[in-house]
């Protein structure tokens, strides 16, 4: 008999305010399938503060605390401290923030939480720009990408540097577990988020979340483009735990050009720029493989 390959319960309600084809809303739906109802989410200013819906309605069927942009790490530590004071140890604390709210504006609070070894899961949904305020460049915007603050023009002012290596930064900071996940690989995602629930200490999940208006892609291609990111090696799926790396899906089979050319934000790239991206991706992927002991069983 045909079977569902993911948990059936839905903790994201229909009628939320996410754009059609929003990767970040699909991500929340999938993550909450793994997290379950005993979860408290806290979230800074980001698209998700809008996706949640307009009061008196709420799209998430778990408690959510909204707070200022900088605070996800601090609020997560606070919720955990309150639960500890009450002797509650079966509730998962989740910090849910965008890339801008993580790698730029929330970085020091997150680093503080890692420093305190706060027992929580931090999920960064990475749509690679400040999308909620109209597509401004963030520390996670990829090399050469168009955004409204890297608009190109005659001085070729596209994004000039690569994404911040947030996972490496947090690993050296002391996280207990790190994983990259993608909406295009839901079973792998659910396995890793479930695993994060069983580990004590700070867990960091980096989730690539396609954004149709920000990436200039048709809404129908949201999952396909996210899959291409993994198939081209641009967004490899791996885990980090106790000093060891595991590559979950060794599926780098396609040239980066396929991923780049599927999106309007990269349509200005010259063959030389594409070759430069390819060179960097090959190098990073080889370095990651060298760190991994082999393909894991997850997903």
């Amino acid at each position: 008999m045909p079977r569902l390959t993911l948990p059936k319960d839905e903790l994201v309600s229909k009628g939320h305010s996410g754009c059609a084809g929003c990767g970040a809303t699909l991500l929340a739906r999938l993550c909450l399938k793994a997290l379950g109802p005993k979860t408290i989410i806290n979230s800074p200013a980001c698209c998700w503060s809008v996706v949640q819906g307009v009061w008196p309605r709420a799209a998430l069927k778990v408690p959510v605390i909204d707070h200022a942009f900088e605070c996800t790490g601090a609020v997560s530590s606070g919720i955990r401290a309150a639960l500890d004071a009450k002797g509650i140890d079966d509730v998962i604390v989740v910090g849910w923030a965008g890339d801008g709210g993580t790698v730029d504006i929330g970085l020091q609070a997150l680093s503080g939480a890692v420093d305190r070894r706060t027992d929580f899961i931090y999920i960064m949904y990475d749509n690679e720009a400040y999308m909620n305020t109209g597509i401004q460049c963030s520390g996670c915007t990829p090399l050469y990408a168009w955004t409204n603050t890297t608009p190109g023009g005659k001085n070729q002012e596209w994004k000039q540097v690569a994404k911040k290596p947030i996972m490496e930064m947090l690993i050296s900071n002391g996280i207990a577990y790190g994983a990259t996940v993608s909406i295009a690989y839901p079973e792998d995602l659910v396995t890793k988020v479930k695993k994060a629930k069983t580990i004590r200490g700070t867990k960091f999940i980096h989730a690539l979340s396609s954004c149709p208006p920000g990436w200039k892609i048709p809404s129908s291609k949201s999952v396909e483009v996210a899959r291409l990111a993994t198939q081209t090696g641009i967004f490899p799926l791996y885990e980090y735990e106790n000093g060891a790396y595991v590559l979950n899906k060794d599926v780098k089979t396609k040239p980066v050009e396929e991923y780049l050319m599927s999106q309007g934000r990269f349509k200005h790239l010259t063959p030389a720029m594409i070759a430069e991206v390819q060179r960097r991706v090959d190098e990073d992927y080889a370095a990651l493989k060298a760190k991994c002991k082999g393909a894991g069983a997850s997903g």
């Binding site: 008999m1 045909p2 079977r3 569902l4 390959t5 993911l6 059936k8 839905e10 994201v12 309600s13 229909k14 009628g15 939320h16 305010s17 996410g18 059609a20 084809g21 929003c22 990767g23 809303t25 699909l26 739906r29 949640q52 819906g53 009061w55 008196p56 309605r57 709420a58 799209a59 069927k61 909406i183 839901p186 149709p212 048709p218 809404s219 129908s220 291609k221 949201s222 999952v223 396909e224």
Partner: protein
């Protein structure tokens, strides 16, 4: 609620967003052809709007047109091409 005095002291939600009919956003309507559908539930997995319903495992997926925004992910991901996106204004 008449004035600000009627607001609760802190903002807690009173209902889910389910009463919001996001189906009105839709330009293209996904239509599932059960002759081609193999019930793999790929469409259910990838719908960001929780709008593909599988009430019992084994049954054919159904679209909730009150909430489906018509993004077309389900049609794009369906491995057998069982879902067609049809313009709303071409349906009478």
């Amino acid at each position: 609620m008449e004035t600000y005095r009627d607001l609760p002291q802190s903002t807690y939600s009173l209902q889910t967003t389910e009463s919001v009919r996001t189906g009105t956003w839709r330009t293209f309507r996904p239509i599932i052809d059960t002759k081609k559908c193999t019930r793999c539930y790929t469409c259910w997995k990838f719908c960001p709007d929780v709008s593909i319903e599988v009430r019992e495992e084994g049954e054919y997926p159904r679209v909730d047109y009150d909430h489906c925004k018509g993004c077309g992910i389900c049609a794009n991901e369906c491995p057998t091409g069982a879902i067609e996106m049809v313009r709303e204004d071409s349906i009478c």
